[in-house]
């Protein structure tokens, strides 16, 4: 076990700068209005750096740099771009531990998770798209003996990307890697809750990219995000967040007639069929871990399995084991590698979770464990911690219908497989789901019946780069990850070529 020192303190392996400007055209540029905002760590609530408060002028400047770089970048060979992405991955791998500590300090998540998931997944994401872009080929269709339709992939040009705060580096990489592989230049706006770790990443990899290919403008959504999302100078906007902002971004995109990809969250159902507990073996242990996964990343995951549906015939025993499993989770200092549950990312997030704990109780849901803010004492007392919480109730309650984005699961029993799928689908959202059973036929039918973009089957919270991720219903539009993501950042150019010297004979 290791407890890392806070970044910047004596003995720490990583330090943040005391201030970050906007990263534009390969260099740091002070914000046009000269203003900065403070960035606290959720671990203790204390400010550790200040960040440029970018505005429309800074976005324009970043767009100038991106447009200046886009054509040349788009014409580089795929081998050249793949080499750069692989070098980025290598650089990140060589600094994995530092990135992991920096990310934990920024977001409040346990370093146990950033070491094992966030940063390794981000590294692999660059490698996956480095490989995918080299293997991608256009097509040709022979229309007739004299006529051929060639289809080329071309970059969109300059794209805007708005990043959420729950996985600040990984979510940025999910958007950057395919966009860069496809030959686009990017203007990226990090979340204002977690604006700093991406700059630590850029301090490691910035020199590997031509100036202007990646530009980062920090600031508040209304002051920097909106000018980016509504700009006439972007060919596409990618956003991860919630429904109202998603609609607003689509509204701006409709004014500019550009595409969007939107990932807007879910209320993912994790379904446990009776046969999971038919034997007290490794599989049952794995299923219980899958149940407790709602607390991974403090529940701040768009696919948080925040509804658990357990078959009636095993409900009592399964829940007794599930409660025990959750009560054994170790919550504490995110910089301790033994810690499994860390801090919520911000104070307003903490307040929102507490407001849901309140309405859950008022609606009559029963608290099986947790149910309150966690007071960890010492230097963590200013941080934002919530006890992993299990509610028992029914699917019409607000806590079953809205993503709380905290370590909170709402549990209900179901009668039979049809009932399970019906309850799972009784939701506005359809991002993720989990199905646990030893019966592969049952798993298949439930998985196909659930209206969600990903159904983890006998697993949960795995995010390999080559599995498509995205939502049905109000969970959004488009996909991330997988080869198909390249399409979201490419135009199709058709050259329709005649090899006949003869006139068509119409005129």
């Amino acid at each position: 076990m290791t407890t890392y020192s806070p970044p910047g303190s004596d003995g720490s392996i990583v330090s943040y700068q005391s201030r970050y400007d906007n990263y534009i055209g390969g260099e740091y540029v002070p914000p046009a209005k000269g203003q900065y905002f403070e960035n606290p760590t959720p671990v203790t609530g204390e400010t550790f750096t200040e960040i440029a408060r970018g505005t429309a002028d800074d976005v324009e400047r970043a767009l100038d740099a991106a447009h200046g770089a886009a054509d040349a970048w788009g014409r580089t060979s795929v081998a050249e771009r793949a080499t750069i992405l692989n070098k980025i991955a290598d650089r990140m791998e060589a600094n994995l531990e530092k990135l992991a500590v920096a990310e934990a300090w920024e977001n409040g998540k346990p370093v146990r998770e950033t070491l094992a998931a966030d940063i390794p997944l981000a590294i692999d994401h660059f490698r996956y798209f480095a490989g995918a872009i080299r293997a991608q080929e256009g097509t040709l269709g022979q229309i007739d003996d004299d006529t051929v339709a060639y289809h080329f992939h071309e970059p969109l040009g300059v794209v805007g990307q708005i990043i959420p705060w729950n996985f600040p580096i990984l979510m940025a990489v999910w958007k950057l890697a395919p966009a860069l592989a496809a030959g686009n230049a990017v203007v990226l706006k990090p979340a204002e809750q977690t604006p700093a770790s991406i700059h630590y990443l850029m301090s490691l990899i910035g020199d590997l990219l031509p100036p202007g290919v990646v530009n980062i403008v920090n600031g508040f959504g209304v002051e920097a995000g909106k000018p980016l999302a509504s700009s006439k100078r972007v060919a596409k906007v990618a956003f991860t967040g919630e429904t109202t902002t998603g609609r607003l971004i689509m509204q701006y995109a409709s004014e500019n007639l550009i595409p969007v990809t939107l990932e807007l969250g879910g209320k993912s159902a994790n379904i446990f069929f009776a046969d999971v507990s038919s034997s007290d073996d490794d599989f049952f242990d794995k299923a219980l871990e899958g149940f407790a996964m709602f607390a991974l990343n403090q529940g701040e995951v768009c696919t948080c399995p925040s509804r658990a549906l357990v078959q009636q015939s095993i409900y009592q025993d399964f829940m007794a084991a599930g409660v025990k499993r959750v009560e054994n989770l170790k919550q504490g200092n995110p910089l301790d590698t033994e810690t499994q549950v860390g801090a919520q990312a911000s104070n307003d997030q903490l307040e929102k979770i507490l407001s849901y704990l309140d309405i859950g109780r008022q609606e009559g849901a029963k608290v099986l464990t947790g149910g309150a803010r966690a007071e960890l004492g010492g230097n963590l007392s200013g941080g934002f911690y919530v006890q992993p919480t299990i509610f028992e109730g029914n699917n019409s309650m607000r806590i079953f219908q809205e993503e709380i984005f905290g370590p909170v699961v709402a549990v209900a029993p179901f009668a039979d497989p049809d009932d399970a799928v019906k309850i799972a689908n009784d939701s506005l959202y359809g991002l993720g789901a989990g199905v646990w059973t030893r019966d592969i036929n049952q798993a298949y039918r439930a998985g196909r019946g659930i209206k969600a973009g990903r159904v983890w089957t006998n697993c949960y919270h795995l995010y390999p780069a080559h599995a498509a991720f995205g939502g049905y219903k109000q969970s959004g539009i488009g996909r991330e990850n997988h080869l198909m993501m390249l399409d979201h950042y490419q135009q199709t150019k058709n050259l329709l070529v005649s090899y006949s010297p003869k006139a068509m004979g119409f005129f």
């Binding site: 999302a229 967040g241 109202t244």
Partner: protein, 125 residues
């Protein structure tokens, strides 16, 4: 007796609305759903967010010191799931994402909820 309302506002939230109204102009709210900053009431300039057939106007909030009502909207699908609850717009320190107008002030509007009483539901239906 005051009429039943679906949405009320805390004094602190009303003060923030007055301030934002003074800085920016007439305001509206649209209640968000989904992840990240989902569940947050998003505050925009009136008309910035285009409501349509899929939205419900829950309330036209009368805020002392603000000439015009501040509209509070929600998507009708979400309203179906929330309509049994009364909402209070509060404000807390924090830093929300999204394009809501209050974020640069270092605060975030937040919804607190309670169940509507049977009398209120009857009056509101």
């Amino acid at each position: 007796m005051a009429r039943a309302a679906r949405v009320d506002v805390t004094p602190a939230a009303a003060e923030m609305m007055r301030r934002l109204r003074g800085q920016h102009g007439p305001l509206m709210f649209h209640q968000s759903g989904g992840c990240c900053d989902g569940s947050s009431p998003m505050c925009y300039l009136e008309g910035e967010f285009r409501t349509g057939q899929s939205d419900v106007l829950l309330e036209s909030l009368r805020i002392e010191g603000v000439d015009e009502p501040i509209t509070f909207w929600m998507s009708s699908a979400q309203f179906e799931l929330w309509k049994h609850t009364h909402l209070t717009v509060d404000v807390v320190p924090g830093r929300g994402a999204g394009f809501s107008l209050e974020a640069p002030e270092g605060v975030r509007f937040l919804i607190r909820s309670r169940l509507l009483t049977e009398e209120e539901l009857a009056e509101l239906s």
